[in-house]
Symmetry: C3
Subunit: 172 residues, 3 copies
């Protein structure tokens, strides 16, 4: 092969426009809805989708146990109680003490739009990859067993960057 | 052509570093200012720019009609009244009951920085592509006729991913 | 070289999957922690990392001078006092009048996770490139001398897009 060509090819890196990764930082109902709408929409048209849950976003992948306190010390327990899982997430605007998400669910149901819970189920069915952020788990006193089974593994930033390399990455 | 080369080329996907797409989710004054500053700055140096307005971000592209209620049912009407269009957007911090955006506008004017309204006009002039999110329109009871003429069409997630493919995508 | 190959290569743009740029818009403690965690994690595995601080994010790179007022007019001074630098940033949720960041710092210390201040130091040591947004500096009445020495220069959107071209860009 021509050396010039070999050199030019080497200078170009392999990219994959059909790969989408989302750093799911927010635990707000509306932003999580955006995360899962984009994730399922992308997976449905053949994208490889990677969700990396961190900080408040970890709330979305917690096992349903009501508002039971999590592991870790006293302060982590308080955060655990306040971050009550998917069904207790607030909206980022017009939350009205928890009334906002209820309005949204009602509007979504009425207009035949999938609700957040349905979107999460769809993401599982479509093979969306879900990962939990190692560091945030340490800070908030969470263990892998606190999450739904679909969460593949705990990742650090370096591993996530490796997995998402060559595609688009967005932060929500 | 050498089979090796053909194979290597096929494995690489066409990318376009001069394409920028923004998912405009936020309806906050400061974040919308960021969205339009980036969009116009990119368009001015030859980028193809695609704005995809969703949820609260739809506020930015609503036709000026004051705080008139929108179509849809009672609850959608309430959201319509609260989301009062570009001139009524709050800031994400230091909003002071609507006083925050006024301060910003004053600071921007005083320092010869384009205001949000001017930035939106510039985006139109520079040929920035604007799209509205189909799903969010359904939830909030909005029709295409509720938006400014520059909004090209309603898109679902799959269509937006297709349009933005190969470039950078950011979520604001 | 075969003309076909030359044409195909020309249609493909040089991309760099080991380049990561972050538009640091938020001044919230938790989001700044995310920004610097991702930045240092990426730099540690060989990424070129560019941080572009704008709006509230400028708070993270202000020189330590307590809550001293900044340059600019009266209104800019008020913003300067409220944006009190890295040690006074609020969390985006559960701030409890400034108590939230204290809890986080305590949890991070207890769990041997680097605190925000340590992450900023690490970013400096790892050669993360830091830039300040020209427009936001004008609006908020800030000068380059208000920032830490590691801030390379003031940039407009076009220059930032040039620097970050070919890599991933995320907005936090």
């Amino acid at each position: 092969m021509d050396n010039n060509i070999a050199q030019m090819l080497e200078n170009q890196n392999v990219t994959n426009p059909k790969k989408l990764s989302i750093i799911a930082f927010s635990g707000d109902f509306d932003k999580l809805t955006a995360t899962f709408t984009i994730a399922t929409g992308a997976a449905a048209v053949g994208y490889e989708v990677n969700l990396f849950f961190t900080f408040w976003g970890l709330d979305a992948i917690k096992r349903k146990t009501g508002r039971a306190p999590l592991g870790g010390g006293f302060i982590a327990k308080i955060f655990g109680i306040m971050m009550g899982g998917l069904s207790n997430t607030p909206t980022s605007r017009f939350n009205f003490c928890g009334f906002g998400p209820w309005i949204f669910r009602k509007l979504m149901r009425k207009n035949n739009v999938a609700t957040l819970e349905e979107l999460v189920e769809a993401a599982k069915a479509l093979g969306v990859n879900m990962y939990a952020c190692e560091m945030a788990m340490h800070v908030l006193g969470l263990k892998k067993s606190d999450f739904i089974n679909e969460v593949k593994e705990e990742l650090g930033v370096a591993s996530f960057l490796k997995i998402s390399e060559g595609g688009r990455t967005i932060f929500i």
